[in-house]
Subunit: 351 residues, 4 copies
């Protein structure tokens, strides 16, 4: 067997910890050699973690030190959005492969700088972490639409990212650094729209939002529920609903309408195959959060990234793909805050 990929995870928040687990248990060709966090409670937790010890994982407080870990080949950047770009750049500078969680940055120029840096080192695998691209259902939809032409020319996408209401305060604390609801939350929906619609260029967009449960977001120029519409050149349209406040669970669905049919992904979300019938009628439960929905997708993503490095294949999702996604996400956020339509020229550049 070829040598496993020596990989480190930076960021030990909710998702970073899960990524470590995925790498340990579901990615046979990867080996977690180091983790890093600047948060004291995360460091304490990691240093006391028996599993990390038995797997021989070194815990770093300094990201720069971690980058010098002997034999390190790749970094999974799973920190908050505001440091995604700088940490990716630092890893690239050290000739390390990078899998960076979306979005690259909330600043377009900074995001571009990562893409540029990656282009200058074509031997490095640098990949944007759009996990839904690795989900079996979204892939099946892509096969049906793009390969099998099952719905004719697709022209309309509806896509929702609706999260269970977070009563813990975690989400609001995190919100200050996430770039706003359309950058943090709709970014997957925008990415899916571009995928299924064949990468059209934006023509105009508008958005409206409301604050229902987290009035403190107002100071952060954000909302907790928002609707946005993107019109593309060529008669294509995508529209999104993002919510932080669902009562029933993680409700993420996408519908793609084409000239001869429609593909629906997860329009009725279900936690598992169980239905209970009692005095209230018939009901099923819904996944509480995206982890339960996309756990397998994260595993596949990690395996495909590992495979691209070990076997020197192209990464499944090149970094630059994320630039247009963010470009649109930021325009929607601007429309939301200004109340005005954001327009783009025929090259997709904002006017």
């Amino acid at each position: 067997m070829s040598q496993p990929l020596n990989i480190a995870v930076v960021g030990l928040g909710r998702m970073g910890v899960r990524h470590v687990k995925t790498l340990l248990y579901r990615v046979p060709h990867a080996k977690v050699v180091a983790v890093c966090s600047i948060m004291d409670h995360e460091l304490k937790w990691a240093n006391e973690n028996e599993e990390y010890k038995t797997f021989g994982i070194t815990v770093y407080k300094s990201y720069d030190e971690m980058l010098n870990h002997p034999g390190l080949q790749a970094v999974w950047v799973s920190t908050s959005t505001d440091v995604h770009a700088s940490q990716s750049l630092a890893a690239i500078a050290k000739n390390l492969h990078v899998l960076c969680e979306k979005p690259l940055s909330t600043d377009m120029a900074e995001a571009q700088s990562v893409v540029d840096a990656a282009k200058q080192k074509p031997h490095l695998k640098v990949m944007a972490g759009f996990s839904r691209r690795f989900d079996a259902s979204y892939r099946d939809a892509a096969t049906k639409i793009l390969d099998n032409k099952a719905i004719g020319e697709p022209f309309m996408v509806r896509s929702n990212t609706c999260d269970l209401r977070d009563e813990t305060g975690f989400f609001v604390r995190y919100a200050a650094r996430n770039g706003g609801i359309f950058v943090d939350c709709a970014i997957h929906d925008i990415d899916l729209s571009l995928w299924y619609l064949g990468n059209p260029l934006p023509k105009a967009c508008w958005a409206a939002g409301t604050l229902q449960h987290h009035p403190e977001l107002k100071e952060l120029n954000d909302v907790d529920n928002a609707v946005g519409v993107v019109e593309f050149w060529g008669g294509k349209i995508a529209y999104f609903y993002c919510s932080r406040t669902q009562a029933h669970g993680h409700d993420v669905c996408t519908e793609i309408t084409g000239k001869t049919g429609k593909v629906m992904v997860n329009v009725i979300p279900k936690a598992n195959n169980v239905v209970i019938a009692d005095k209230l009628g018939m009901r099923h439960e819904v996944q509480p959060e995206y982890w339960q929905r996309f756990e397998d997708a994260f595993a596949l993503e990690a395996n495909e990234f590992t495979d691209s490095v070990i076997n020197d294949k192209p990464v499944p999702l090149p970094m630059e793909g994320g630039l247009m996604v963010m470009h649109i996400g930021r325009a929607l956020q601007h429309a939301l805050l200004s109340g005005e339509v954001v327009k783009f020229n025929e090259k997709g550049e904002r006017l």
Copy 2:
């Protein structure tokens, strides 16, 4: 417009009252001229009913007197099972058309006597009331299976009749006269099986039951939940689950499996098109009873019966069809009580 059909309804229980409503409001070619009941509280209710007065309906205490109502042409027998046959015979004797609720009788000889009497008066329309035969979904299933051969040769039927638990005691009071769970409750399922399987003859059957909520049924030689299997000559099988004790509503479904596919009718029952999502997940309500599920079917049945009389067409469901249904229902009930397999010869006669 041709003259409407003068019809009377005997039996003013829950269903009789509904049949009157159906005839008044949804059967434009029928005119309810009389109703009859021997129950004091039903009579009192009918005599005080303003609607009946405005529609000019005469209320009778005596069935024989009602049969002599001037101009009466047809009778809808909606009493308890034990008098279905005698009332049908009396109506036939008076040269009246008859729509008789299922089952004709719990006694085979008595049921046969009604069929014989009807045959001797071929100008009369005498029809068994198997309401599911008039339901849009069951008819669509029949079209798909029998006309379109959508599933190839059908060979297996699963059919359930599961009622909402009746906490009022109504059901148990009625149970003494209904012939047992397989005669009263599974009879529709047996009828549907014969329809979809092409009227096969029974070869053997067995059943098992249990008492969960109505122990008082034991004295009546009955159970409140039962499963039965009928094997037909020619390699066809039907199996049934009947229940009186469902918590969630009226749950009646049928699945027909054929060589190249399966048709499912109402496997997930829904009261309407509404789903509610909240902390419990996603749920829909279920119809509380068969009226909500089959109201349209009863209206169609009444219209088709009326049409068969006015325009002298064959009745959609001849009386004799009900004989084999009851024959099988009684055999299942016997198997349930004896614990033994009931066997039939190649003519479908019990051995």
Copy 3:
């Protein structure tokens, strides 16, 4: 029984003919005494219709003559949108009750004139025909949301009106007079949004559309698929998708999100309770058009209108309710064509 309501239907297109049927067979307290059309083929058809003869229906070519039909009490206006207002006004002038199909007019002033005329004759029942308000599922949703507070304060509505693609050319011929996709098609969705959100006032709206199957609509300043968003004062939002080109059937759904839950109406449309399983998987059919979906609603609407006249009750849907609906529909259509946001002041007046 009180005397039935003498009613006439003007317009014998697809819907007018159905309304006559509904009145004949499902509205026991109404009597169709006359119909009217100016279309030769409709007149010919009506004059030769045996059923109309047996029910004694007089066929008129002149609407004015029909209004003078002896004993006429009410008119159901089921013509094309461009004459709804003038025909309603003429009926009101003759002291006739009016049930007018939506929308009253594509011109706000004209629509207002009908409302004004109706107000001056408070003894007349003048009603806007928003049929979905009479649908069992939408009513159940209203009960859950408005009466039972099942989802807390509602703040977001998604509502779709997506029609099966019409290959016959009927739709395009009709389109010239219907006011555009947001006036003709989204008007029900707007009405439902106002209902469930508690009649909020519009603050801003935007829309985008595309032509996929009917390029000839371009000359009519219309599209065949469109998305629109309405932001209301008070933090409420509604968004709509209208389509004339669905492959699978009539797909009309509404989702209402509130602070503690979500109600979904018809998110998975089904023609009936039948599912077929074969080599393609499991599938169900979808209603081909709104008639199959809303036939019962039209019957209830006709019965409630009849009841309001006969028993002098308020109409279930007063005419003026339709004004705000059309106001918003026209603003969305304007946004669609101009590409600009339409804004409203705090009284809901367009700026």
Copy 4:
């Protein structure tokens, strides 16, 4: 990290090969050291398999030799049913832990001998492979029913194992050694029934079957579609439908009815979250076989077995549990072939 468990897999048919994959990629604490097959084509395939080479797996033709593989600790028996027992016994004799695919044997005495041998070596982990017990949905159902009492006392189980029709001939070739449809196919359904109903003892059973696609099964005393009913002492009932001939996929569902509700597992099987809407209506695909449905369950099973060995915990499913399951399966098969009811005394022993 503690040392991984050295495990070997015997049998390299469709499932054996999958078990090796599961152990390699999804069971971090297990290490596949050897595989074994007596089939030439399987051996050839294994000897040429690059992956097996890189993971250092030794391929054996002799099971006895494999049992002597240095350091071997456990064996996963994944051969045909007729050698399950003898191979398990041989492994136990060598002091190896055993995970044996269901059923232990088609012969009760032989099955008992394995249980006895295991009891004499309590330090060995010997486990029956009832994979559904490790499925997330079945476990959730168990939690709801047994722990949360969500449906009150359960008394009725319906359970189906319906396989996609196998056009390749594989199934029929295998059938000669599998003990018949109720032993090979319903055994999971019987096991689930015992689990959810609290291990009741059988009182009587009956079955009926038919041959629809594989007439050659007649010589093997088997059928390709069968229905069976088991009545238990204490008023509990389970009924099963097994099929080898479904057109639409692997359709495996279970419904458990209790005094106050019903739990349904996988009543509408779905391959993934994708629905396609087109001229045929709305449809979803169904898993082609149990691997797609239960892949995660097999991984969990392998992990829990590994954990029980490494950490010396009780196995999640003791061997003896399978004895009653097979006892009932064989009785159903007897009823199927004889046409007679099989009865049991109050200890569950066949009369």
